[in-house]
């Protein structure tokens, strides 16, 4: 459970820093950042929901019968790339969602790959339905955390955070407290 959490929060942090250019105060760009977060959150949620059963199928139908379990991580990464590209193409016309950054596809890919591999290794899904649920769960969890974090940061802009703690440090502390809160869920999921 806690390793799941750490990976989820880690991806939230990475996504957020990818959205805001680190080291800058952005008083006027709030909506861009939040819209970007909505874009990444929804893309990741949809992507994981699809990726998880897809990789389950590949695993059960191709890798295991062929005794190539050792290829699983590599194949999942490739599937994640595929998924990211498809999503990017599908989302392309949602201009207000999709931040037109060069790194967007790459971020989505890494996100998908990382979370996808994590799901595979951590939550051993026995059925296709379980795989779908695990993917959707992680995706929605990631989306909720990222959006909550992005709007927390937006609210934080008016706060008189001490100079040396502005931006990245306070963001890290916030993520830390969020992790602390989520520690309360330990024991709910047996790994």
């Amino acid at each position: 459970m806690s390793s799941l959490l750490i990976i989820l929060l880690g991806s939230v942090l990475v996504s957020y820093f990818a959205l805001t250019t680190p080291g800058m105060v952005q008083p006027f760009a709030s909506d861009d950042v939040f819209d970007g977060a909505v874009g990444i959150a929804s893309a990741t949620a949809i992507g994981l929901t699809l990726l998880s059963p897809l990789s389950w199928l590949v695993d059960r139908l191709a890798l295991r019968p062929l005794h190539m379990d050792f290829l699983a991580p590599t194949i999942f990464v490739m599937l994640a790339v595929l998924m990211a590209l498809c999503l990017e193409a599908a989302f392309r016309h949602q201009t207000h969602w999709l931040p037109m950054r060069l790194g967007f596809t790459m971020l989505l890919t890494t996100q998908g790959a990382l979370l996808g591999v994590m799901l595979q290794s951590r939550l051993r899904s026995d059925t296709l339905l379980q795989a779908v649920l695990a993917g959707a769960g992680a995706g929605i969890g990631f989306a909720a955390l990222l959006l909550a974090f992005a709007s927390l940061q937006q609210r934080q802009r008016a706060a008189e955070v001490p100079a040396s703690f502005q931006l990245a440090p306070i963001a890290l502390i916030t993520i830390g407290i969020m992790a602390l809160a989520l520690m309360g869920l330990t024991g709910l999921v047996r790994e």
Partner: protein
């Protein structure tokens, strides 16, 4: 082993195909141009060395122009573009013109106007009305303050004024 290699090759091929088909850069640039254009002040003054805001946006999208070439938008626009494109912000390059604190609009000294229509042709937003041999006038509400009409006037009867000055005169 051979099966593994074959599977990898198969997946690789599919990936390559998708990559090739999805990376249509033209479409991507068109969308990026649109998003950049949304952030420009639409003065259409051409001080950025392009003929208008949209051409400048296209040039930025292609990577042929920098984000700090828009004096009417000032540092705010440069910053908005920096945020959009994920680049470090920079102030407007003074080579492209000075950033004015208050917007100006064109004003025609109507008695001096000879009705040559040169300014009408120069105006990028059709904000000057008048006909050949007749006096011209600026629609203040539509004027973006691009100053493109000032130079063509053969009798130098156009000048830039603040909106309040124009309203008073």
């Amino acid at each position: 082993m051979i099966v593994a290699i074959l599977v990898m090759i198969a997946i690789g091929t599919v990936l390559a195909a998708v990559l090739a088909s999805s990376s249509s850069t033209a479409q991507r640039q068109q969308l990026l141009t649109e998003r950049i254009n949304e952030r420009l002040p639409q003065t259409q003054c051409g001080r950025c060395t392009f003929t208008g805001c949209k051409p400048y946006a296209a040039a930025v999208a292609r990577g042929e122009a920098d984000i700090n070439q828009c004096p009417p938008g000032g540092d705010a626009t440069a910053k908005a573009l920096a945020d959009l494109l994920g680049r470090p912000p920079k102030p407007v390059d003074p080579r492209f013109g000075a950033v004015l604190p208050r917007p100006l609009v064109a004003w025609i000294d109507e008695p001096a106007c000879i009705g040559c229509t040169k300014c009408i042709q120069a105006c990028p937003v059709d904000a000057i009305v008048g006909a050949s041999k007749f006096m011209h006038t600026v629609i203040t509400a539509q004027c973006t303050g691009c100053e493109l009409c000032v130079a063509p006037c053969p009798v130098d009867c156009i000048e830039m004024r603040t909106v309040t000055d124009v309203a008073l005169s």
